[in-house]
Protein backbone atom coordinates (compact mmCIF):
# COMPACT_ATOMS: atom_id res chain seq x y z
CA UNK A 1 0.00 0.00 0.00
CA UNK A 2 2.66 2.48 1.05
CA UNK A 3 4.88 1.33 -1.80
CA UNK A 4 2.10 2.01 -4.27
CA UNK A 5 1.56 5.43 -2.71
CA UNK A 6 5.27 6.20 -3.00
CA UNK A 7 5.24 5.14 -6.64
CA UNK A 8 2.37 7.47 -7.43
CA UNK A 9 3.72 10.38 -5.41
CA UNK A 10 6.81 10.92 -7.51
CA UNK A 11 5.03 11.53 -10.86
CA UNK A 12 2.54 13.82 -9.09
CA UNK A 13 5.38 15.77 -7.51
CA UNK A 14 7.23 15.97 -10.82
CA UNK A 15 4.08 17.23 -12.55
CA UNK A 16 3.47 19.89 -9.92
CA UNK A 17 7.10 20.98 -10.17
CA UNK A 18 6.89 21.32 -13.94
CA UNK A 19 3.75 23.45 -13.67
CA UNK A 20 5.29 25.62 -10.94
CA UNK A 21 8.52 26.10 -12.86
CA UNK A 22 6.53 27.01 -15.99
CA UNK A 23 4.49 29.57 -14.06
CA UNK A 24 7.60 31.03 -12.43
CA UNK A 25 9.45 31.37 -15.73
CA UNK A 26 6.39 33.01 -17.31
CA UNK A 27 6.14 35.41 -14.37
CA UNK A 28 9.86 36.20 -14.47
CA UNK A 29 9.85 37.12 -18.15
CA UNK A 30 6.39 38.55 -18.71
CA UNK A 31 5.02 39.76 -15.40
CA UNK A 32 7.86 41.13 -13.28
CA UNK A 33 8.78 44.72 -14.18
CA UNK A 34 12.20 45.71 -15.47
CA UNK A 35 14.62 46.87 -12.81
CA UNK A 36 15.25 50.62 -13.04
CA UNK A 37 19.06 50.34 -12.81
CA UNK A 38 19.89 46.97 -14.22
CA UNK A 39 17.14 46.33 -16.76
CA UNK A 40 16.73 42.81 -18.10
CA UNK A 41 19.82 41.38 -16.42
CA UNK A 42 18.25 41.84 -13.00
CA UNK A 43 15.88 38.99 -13.85
CA UNK A 44 18.67 36.51 -13.08
CA UNK A 45 17.88 37.47 -9.48
CA UNK A 46 14.77 35.28 -9.68
CA UNK A 47 16.98 32.29 -10.45
CA UNK A 48 20.06 33.12 -8.44
CA UNK A 49 18.50 33.83 -5.05
CA UNK A 50 16.01 30.91 -5.05
CA UNK A 51 18.87 28.61 -6.11
CA UNK A 52 20.99 29.85 -3.22
CA UNK A 53 18.17 29.54 -0.69
CA UNK A 54 17.32 26.08 -1.99
CA UNK A 55 20.95 25.03 -1.61
CA UNK A 56 20.87 26.20 2.02
CA UNK A 57 17.61 24.30 2.47
CA UNK A 58 19.28 21.16 1.07
CA UNK A 59 22.22 21.46 3.45
CA UNK A 60 19.88 22.16 6.33
CA UNK A 61 17.69 19.16 5.47
CA UNK A 62 20.79 16.98 5.10
CA UNK A 63 22.00 18.05 8.53
CA UNK A 64 18.56 17.45 10.03
CA UNK A 65 18.54 13.92 8.63
CA UNK A 66 22.10 13.45 9.92
CA UNK A 67 20.92 14.47 13.37
CA UNK A 68 17.99 12.05 13.13
CA UNK A 69 20.45 9.33 12.21
CA UNK A 70 22.73 9.98 15.16
CA UNK A 71 20.00 10.72 17.64
CA UNK A 72 17.08 8.43 16.83
CA UNK A 73 18.94 5.85 14.71
CA UNK A 74 16.26 6.37 12.08
CA UNK A 75 16.75 3.75 9.36
CA UNK A 76 17.48 5.29 5.96
CA UNK A 77 18.29 8.70 7.40
CA UNK A 78 21.91 8.33 6.32
CA UNK A 79 20.92 7.84 2.70
CA UNK A 80 18.45 10.73 2.86
CA UNK A 81 21.10 12.98 4.35
CA UNK A 82 23.53 12.06 1.59
CA UNK A 83 20.98 12.64 -1.17
CA UNK A 84 19.98 16.04 0.25
CA UNK A 85 23.62 17.14 0.40
CA UNK A 86 24.24 15.82 -3.09
CA UNK A 87 21.36 17.97 -4.37
CA UNK A 88 22.66 20.86 -2.30
CA UNK A 89 26.03 20.70 -4.02
CA UNK A 90 24.33 20.76 -7.43
CA UNK A 91 22.17 23.75 -6.48
CA UNK A 92 25.23 25.35 -4.92
CA UNK A 93 27.23 24.95 -8.13
CA UNK A 94 24.38 26.57 -10.07
CA UNK A 95 24.28 29.39 -7.53
CA UNK A 96 27.98 30.06 -8.01
CA UNK A 97 27.49 29.99 -11.76
CA UNK A 98 24.50 32.34 -11.87
CA UNK A 99 26.09 34.60 -9.26
CA UNK A 100 29.22 34.83 -11.35
CA UNK A 101 27.26 35.68 -14.49
CA UNK A 102 25.28 38.34 -12.66
CA UNK A 103 28.46 39.77 -11.14
CA UNK A 104 30.03 40.01 -14.59
CA UNK A 105 27.02 41.88 -15.96
CA UNK A 106 26.38 44.26 -13.10
CA UNK A 107 29.84 44.78 -11.56
CA UNK A 108 32.00 43.89 -14.56
CA UNK A 109 33.96 41.11 -12.84
CA UNK A 110 33.43 37.36 -12.77
CA UNK A 111 34.48 37.07 -9.19
CA UNK A 112 34.64 39.47 -6.31
CA UNK A 113 36.36 38.58 -3.05
CA UNK A 114 34.72 41.50 -1.33
CA UNK A 115 31.38 39.81 -1.72
CA UNK A 116 30.19 37.95 1.35
CA UNK A 117 27.67 35.58 -0.22
CA UNK A 118 29.92 34.39 -3.04
CA UNK A 119 32.87 33.69 -0.75
CA UNK A 120 30.65 31.96 1.78
CA UNK A 121 29.25 29.79 -0.95
CA UNK A 122 32.72 28.89 -2.15
CA UNK A 123 33.73 27.83 1.36
CA UNK A 124 30.60 25.71 1.71
CA UNK A 125 31.08 24.27 -1.73
CA UNK A 126 34.62 23.16 -0.81
CA UNK A 127 33.35 21.78 2.47
CA UNK A 128 30.60 19.70 0.91
CA UNK A 129 32.83 18.45 -1.89
CA UNK A 130 35.08 17.11 0.88
CA UNK A 131 31.97 15.40 2.25
CA UNK A 132 31.88 13.29 -0.91
CA UNK A 133 35.58 12.51 -0.67
CA UNK A 134 35.00 11.32 2.89
CA UNK A 135 31.99 9.26 1.94
CA UNK A 136 33.73 7.48 -0.89
CA UNK A 137 36.96 6.81 0.99
CA UNK A 138 35.23 4.84 3.75
CA UNK A 139 33.67 1.43 3.24
CA UNK A 140 29.86 1.45 3.45
CA UNK A 141 28.52 0.55 6.85
CA UNK A 142 27.46 2.02 10.17
CA UNK A 143 30.87 3.64 10.74
CA UNK A 144 30.61 5.55 7.48
CA UNK A 145 27.04 6.60 8.20
CA UNK A 146 28.06 8.01 11.58
CA UNK A 147 31.08 9.82 10.23
CA UNK A 148 29.20 11.41 7.37
CA UNK A 149 26.42 12.47 9.73
CA UNK A 150 28.93 14.17 12.03
CA UNK A 151 30.54 15.94 9.08
CA UNK A 152 27.14 17.09 7.79
CA UNK A 153 26.39 18.56 11.22
CA UNK A 154 29.71 20.42 11.15
CA UNK A 155 28.54 21.90 7.86
CA UNK A 156 25.47 23.64 9.25
CA UNK A 157 27.53 25.03 12.10
CA UNK A 158 30.14 26.23 9.62
CA UNK A 159 27.52 28.23 7.68
CA UNK A 160 26.83 30.90 10.34
CA UNK A 161 30.45 30.88 11.58
CA UNK A 162 31.84 31.47 8.09
CA UNK A 163 29.20 34.06 7.40
CA UNK A 164 30.24 35.93 10.52
CA UNK A 165 33.93 35.58 9.65
CA UNK A 166 33.55 36.83 6.11
CA UNK A 167 31.22 39.65 7.09
CA UNK A 168 33.65 40.76 9.81
CA UNK A 169 36.40 41.36 7.35
CA UNK A 170 34.72 42.98 4.39
CA UNK A 171 33.15 45.89 2.72
CA UNK A 172 30.09 44.88 0.75
CA UNK A 173 28.80 45.61 -2.69
CA UNK A 174 26.33 42.76 -2.71
CA UNK A 175 22.82 44.16 -2.89
CA UNK A 176 21.00 43.46 0.34
CA UNK A 177 17.39 42.97 -0.66
CA UNK A 178 16.01 41.54 2.55
CA UNK A 179 16.54 43.93 5.41
CA UNK A 180 14.87 44.18 8.79
CA UNK A 181 12.25 46.48 7.23
CA UNK A 182 11.06 43.71 4.93
CA UNK A 183 11.89 43.08 1.27
CA UNK A 184 13.17 46.13 -0.60
CA UNK A 185 11.33 45.60 -3.87
CA UNK A 186 8.04 46.17 -5.59
CA UNK A 187 5.07 43.93 -4.80
CA UNK A 188 4.97 42.31 -8.23
CA UNK A 189 8.68 41.56 -8.02
CA UNK A 190 8.30 40.03 -4.59
CA UNK A 191 5.42 37.88 -5.79
CA UNK A 192 7.47 36.62 -8.74
CA UNK A 193 10.36 35.93 -6.40
CA UNK A 194 8.17 33.91 -4.04
CA UNK A 195 6.77 31.80 -6.88
CA UNK A 196 10.29 31.23 -8.21
CA UNK A 197 11.46 30.17 -4.75
CA UNK A 198 8.59 27.74 -4.29
CA UNK A 199 9.22 26.32 -7.76
CA UNK A 200 12.90 25.83 -6.98
CA UNK A 201 12.12 24.12 -3.68
CA UNK A 202 9.66 21.86 -5.49
CA UNK A 203 12.39 21.06 -7.99
CA UNK A 204 14.65 20.06 -5.13
CA UNK A 205 11.90 17.91 -3.61
CA UNK A 206 11.41 16.13 -6.93
CA UNK A 207 15.11 15.49 -7.52
CA UNK A 208 15.45 14.40 -3.92
CA UNK A 209 12.66 11.85 -4.19
CA UNK A 210 13.89 10.70 -7.58
CA UNK A 211 17.46 10.09 -6.45
CA UNK A 212 16.25 8.49 -3.25
CA UNK A 213 13.97 6.14 -5.17
CA UNK A 214 16.85 5.23 -7.47
CA UNK A 215 19.23 4.56 -4.60
CA UNK A 216 16.70 2.46 -2.73
CA UNK A 217 16.00 0.44 -5.85
CA UNK A 218 19.73 -0.06 -6.20
CA UNK A 219 20.04 -1.39 -2.68
CA UNK A 220 17.10 -3.74 -3.07
CA UNK A 221 18.42 -5.02 -6.36
CA UNK A 222 21.77 -5.75 -4.76
CA UNK A 223 20.10 -7.58 -1.91
CA UNK A 224 18.05 -9.68 -4.33
CA UNK A 225 21.11 -10.49 -6.37
CA UNK A 226 22.95 -11.64 -3.27
CA UNK A 227 19.99 -13.86 -2.36
CA UNK A 228 19.93 -15.42 -5.81
CA UNK A 229 23.65 -15.96 -6.24
CA UNK A 230 25.31 -16.45 -2.88
Amino acid sequence: MTAALARNRLPALAGATTVLLGISIALIFFYAPDDRDQGLSQRIFYFHVPLALTAYACFGWGAWKALRHLWKREPGADLESYVAIHQGVIFGALTLLTGSIWAKISWGVWWSWSETQLVLFLVLFLFYCAYFMLRYSVDPGPARANMCAVYALFGVVLIPISFLAIRLSQRFIHPVVFTRDGPQMAGSMFFTFCVALVAMLALFATFYQLELAGKRLDTRLRELRELLAP
Binding site: L70, V123, L124, L126, F127, C129, A130, M133, L134, S137, V138, D139, P142, A143, N146, M147, A149, V150, Y151, L153, F154, V157, L158, I161, S162, L164, A165, I166, L168, S169
Partner: protein
Amino acid sequence: MSYAADVVALARKDLLLELRAKETLPAMLLFVLAALTIFHFAIPTDTSDVATLGLLWIAIVFTALLGLTRAFVPEREQGTMDALVLATRDRSAIWLAKSVAVFAFLGLAELIALPAFSLFFDPVDARTVAAVVLADIGICAVGTLTGAMAVAGRARELILPLLFLPLAIPVIVGGVGASAGAGGRYLLFLVLYDAVFALLAWASFEYVVAET
Protein backbone atom coordinates in the same frame (compact mmCIF):
# COMPACT_ATOMS: atom_id res chain seq x y z
CA MET B 1 39.37 6.50 37.30
CA SER B 2 37.71 9.76 36.53
CA TYR B 3 37.29 11.47 33.16
CA ALA B 4 40.20 13.79 33.88
CA ALA B 5 42.43 10.86 34.77
CA ASP B 6 41.56 9.21 31.44
CA VAL B 7 42.48 12.33 29.55
CA VAL B 8 45.75 12.77 31.45
CA ALA B 9 46.72 9.14 30.93
CA LEU B 10 46.05 9.23 27.19
CA ALA B 11 47.74 12.59 26.65
CA ARG B 12 50.72 11.41 28.68
CA LYS B 13 50.96 8.34 26.46
CA ASP B 14 51.12 10.52 23.34
CA LEU B 15 53.72 12.85 24.80
CA LEU B 16 55.83 9.91 26.00
CA LEU B 17 55.65 8.25 22.60
CA GLU B 18 56.80 11.47 21.00
CA LEU B 19 59.58 11.91 23.55
CA ARG B 20 60.93 8.45 22.69
CA ALA B 21 60.31 8.24 18.96
CA LYS B 22 60.83 11.96 18.13
CA GLU B 23 58.88 11.74 14.90
CA THR B 24 56.29 14.50 14.75
CA LEU B 25 57.78 17.48 16.50
CA PRO B 26 61.11 17.67 14.65
CA ALA B 27 59.21 17.30 11.38
CA MET B 28 56.87 20.16 12.31
CA LEU B 29 59.77 22.39 13.35
CA LEU B 30 61.73 21.78 10.19
CA PHE B 31 58.62 22.22 8.08
CA VAL B 32 57.71 25.58 9.58
CA LEU B 33 61.26 26.91 9.19
CA ALA B 34 61.42 25.67 5.60
CA ALA B 35 58.03 27.26 4.88
CA LEU B 36 59.18 30.63 6.26
CA THR B 37 62.33 30.43 4.15
CA ILE B 38 60.28 29.69 1.06
CA PHE B 39 58.02 32.65 1.84
CA HIS B 40 61.03 34.92 1.97
CA PHE B 41 61.85 34.02 -1.61
CA ALA B 42 58.24 33.86 -2.75
CA ILE B 43 57.32 37.43 -1.86
CA PRO B 44 58.80 40.72 -3.10
CA THR B 45 61.15 42.40 -0.60
CA ASP B 46 58.98 45.49 -0.18
CA THR B 47 55.84 43.56 0.85
CA SER B 48 53.84 45.20 3.62
CA ASP B 49 53.78 43.88 7.19
CA VAL B 50 50.16 42.86 6.87
CA ALA B 51 50.89 40.64 3.88
CA THR B 52 53.75 38.88 5.65
CA LEU B 53 51.51 38.26 8.66
CA GLY B 54 49.21 36.40 6.32
CA LEU B 55 52.13 34.12 5.50
CA LEU B 56 52.63 33.40 9.19
CA TRP B 57 49.07 32.13 9.33
CA ILE B 58 49.53 29.94 6.28
CA ALA B 59 52.65 28.47 7.89
CA ILE B 60 50.77 27.79 11.14
CA VAL B 61 47.82 26.05 9.48
CA PHE B 62 49.99 23.83 7.31
CA THR B 63 52.31 22.96 10.18
CA ALA B 64 49.28 21.99 12.22
CA LEU B 65 48.10 19.89 9.29
CA LEU B 66 51.43 18.07 9.29
CA GLY B 67 51.07 17.28 12.98
CA LEU B 68 47.43 16.24 12.60
CA THR B 69 48.28 13.85 9.78
CA ARG B 70 50.57 11.99 12.18
CA ALA B 71 48.26 12.25 15.17
CA PHE B 72 46.37 8.99 14.77
CA VAL B 73 49.13 7.02 13.06
CA PRO B 74 50.31 5.22 16.25
CA GLU B 75 46.72 4.23 17.02
CA ARG B 76 46.32 2.88 13.52
CA GLU B 77 49.58 0.98 13.33
CA GLN B 78 49.29 -0.66 16.73
CA GLY B 79 45.54 -1.19 16.61
CA THR B 80 45.25 0.89 19.78
CA MET B 81 42.06 2.57 18.60
CA ASP B 82 40.07 -0.68 18.71
CA ALA B 83 41.20 -1.29 22.28
CA LEU B 84 40.37 2.29 23.29
CA VAL B 85 36.90 2.06 21.76
CA LEU B 86 36.30 -1.27 23.51
CA ALA B 87 37.20 0.20 26.88
CA THR B 88 34.10 1.08 28.88
CA ARG B 89 35.10 4.72 29.23
CA ASP B 90 33.76 7.94 27.83
CA ARG B 91 35.14 8.03 24.30
CA SER B 92 35.30 11.81 24.10
CA ALA B 93 38.28 11.51 26.44
CA ILE B 94 40.22 10.08 23.47
CA TRP B 95 39.47 13.21 21.49
CA LEU B 96 40.32 15.57 24.34
CA ALA B 97 43.61 13.82 25.09
CA LYS B 98 44.64 13.78 21.45
CA SER B 99 43.73 17.45 21.09
CA VAL B 100 45.85 18.29 24.12
CA ALA B 101 48.80 16.36 22.68
CA VAL B 102 48.50 18.02 19.25
CA PHE B 103 48.11 21.40 20.97
CA ALA B 104 51.35 20.76 22.86
CA PHE B 105 53.25 19.86 19.67
CA LEU B 106 51.86 22.82 17.79
CA GLY B 107 52.64 25.16 20.68
CA LEU B 108 56.21 23.93 20.83
CA ALA B 109 56.64 24.34 17.08
CA GLU B 110 55.31 27.89 17.37
CA LEU B 111 57.73 28.64 20.20
CA ILE B 112 60.37 28.38 17.49
CA ALA B 113 58.29 29.63 14.59
CA LEU B 114 57.16 32.94 16.09
CA PRO B 115 60.67 34.16 17.06
CA ALA B 116 61.92 32.95 13.68
CA PHE B 117 59.19 34.93 11.97
CA SER B 118 60.10 38.04 13.98
CA LEU B 119 63.72 37.52 13.02
CA PHE B 120 63.11 36.95 9.32
CA PHE B 121 60.21 39.34 8.73
CA ASP B 122 58.52 41.62 11.27
CA PRO B 123 58.25 41.42 15.04
CA VAL B 124 55.01 39.90 16.28
CA ASP B 125 53.00 41.75 18.92
CA ALA B 126 51.09 40.43 21.93
CA ARG B 127 47.82 40.48 20.03
CA THR B 128 49.19 38.14 17.39
CA VAL B 129 50.43 35.76 20.07
CA ALA B 130 46.99 35.78 21.71
CA ALA B 131 45.37 35.11 18.34
CA VAL B 132 47.79 32.25 17.67
CA VAL B 133 46.95 30.59 21.00
CA LEU B 134 43.21 30.95 20.40
CA ALA B 135 43.53 29.70 16.84
CA ASP B 136 45.57 26.69 18.03
CA ILE B 137 42.72 25.62 20.29
CA GLY B 138 40.26 25.69 17.41
CA ILE B 139 42.66 24.02 15.00
CA CYS B 140 43.39 21.18 17.43
CA ALA B 141 39.74 20.66 18.34
CA VAL B 142 38.51 20.48 14.75
CA GLY B 143 41.67 18.90 13.36
CA THR B 144 41.67 15.99 15.79
CA LEU B 145 38.10 15.11 14.88
CA THR B 146 38.74 15.29 11.14
CA GLY B 147 41.98 13.39 11.70
CA ALA B 148 40.04 10.56 13.30
CA MET B 149 37.71 10.55 10.29
CA ALA B 150 40.57 10.56 7.83
CA VAL B 151 42.37 7.52 9.28
CA ALA B 152 39.19 5.46 9.01
CA GLY B 153 39.13 5.82 5.24
CA ARG B 154 41.23 4.39 2.48
CA ALA B 155 42.62 7.72 1.34
CA ARG B 156 43.97 8.56 4.82
CA GLU B 157 46.62 11.32 4.65
CA LEU B 158 45.25 12.49 1.34
CA ILE B 159 41.81 13.35 2.63
CA LEU B 160 42.68 15.19 5.86
CA PRO B 161 43.54 18.54 4.21
CA LEU B 162 40.31 18.37 2.22
CA LEU B 163 38.25 17.81 5.33
CA PHE B 164 40.15 20.24 7.51
CA LEU B 165 40.94 23.29 5.38
CA PRO B 166 37.35 24.48 4.70
CA LEU B 167 36.73 24.30 8.43
CA ALA B 168 39.94 26.24 9.10
CA ILE B 169 39.02 29.19 6.88
CA PRO B 170 37.23 31.07 9.70
CA VAL B 171 40.33 30.58 11.87
CA ILE B 172 42.47 32.21 9.19
CA VAL B 173 40.01 35.09 8.86
CA GLY B 174 40.02 35.62 12.62
CA GLY B 175 43.76 35.21 13.01
CA VAL B 176 44.76 37.49 10.16
CA GLY B 177 42.19 40.07 11.26
CA ALA B 178 43.49 40.06 14.82
CA SER B 179 47.14 40.31 13.89
CA ALA B 180 46.58 42.87 11.14
CA GLY B 181 45.31 45.51 13.53
CA ALA B 182 41.57 45.51 14.17
CA GLY B 183 42.15 43.32 17.25
CA GLY B 184 39.30 42.90 19.74
CA ARG B 185 36.38 41.66 17.75
CA TYR B 186 38.50 39.15 15.84
CA LEU B 187 39.83 37.71 19.08
CA LEU B 188 36.24 37.44 20.29
CA PHE B 189 35.35 35.71 17.07
CA LEU B 190 38.15 33.18 17.61
CA VAL B 191 36.86 32.53 21.13
CA LEU B 192 33.40 31.92 19.67
CA TYR B 193 34.80 29.56 17.03
CA ASP B 194 36.75 27.61 19.65
CA ALA B 195 33.76 27.29 21.94
CA VAL B 196 31.31 26.21 19.25
CA PHE B 197 33.52 23.72 17.46
CA ALA B 198 35.14 22.30 20.59
CA LEU B 199 31.70 21.61 21.99
CA LEU B 200 30.51 20.05 18.74
CA ALA B 201 33.63 17.92 18.36
CA TRP B 202 33.48 16.82 21.98
CA ALA B 203 29.85 15.77 21.61
CA SER B 204 30.23 14.02 18.27
CA PHE B 205 33.60 12.25 18.57
CA GLU B 206 31.92 9.20 20.03
CA TYR B 207 30.12 8.60 16.73
CA VAL B 208 33.25 8.99 14.65
CA VAL B 209 35.05 6.09 16.31
CA ALA B 210 32.06 3.89 17.09
CA GLU B 211 31.56 0.95 14.77
CA THR B 212 27.79 0.76 15.26
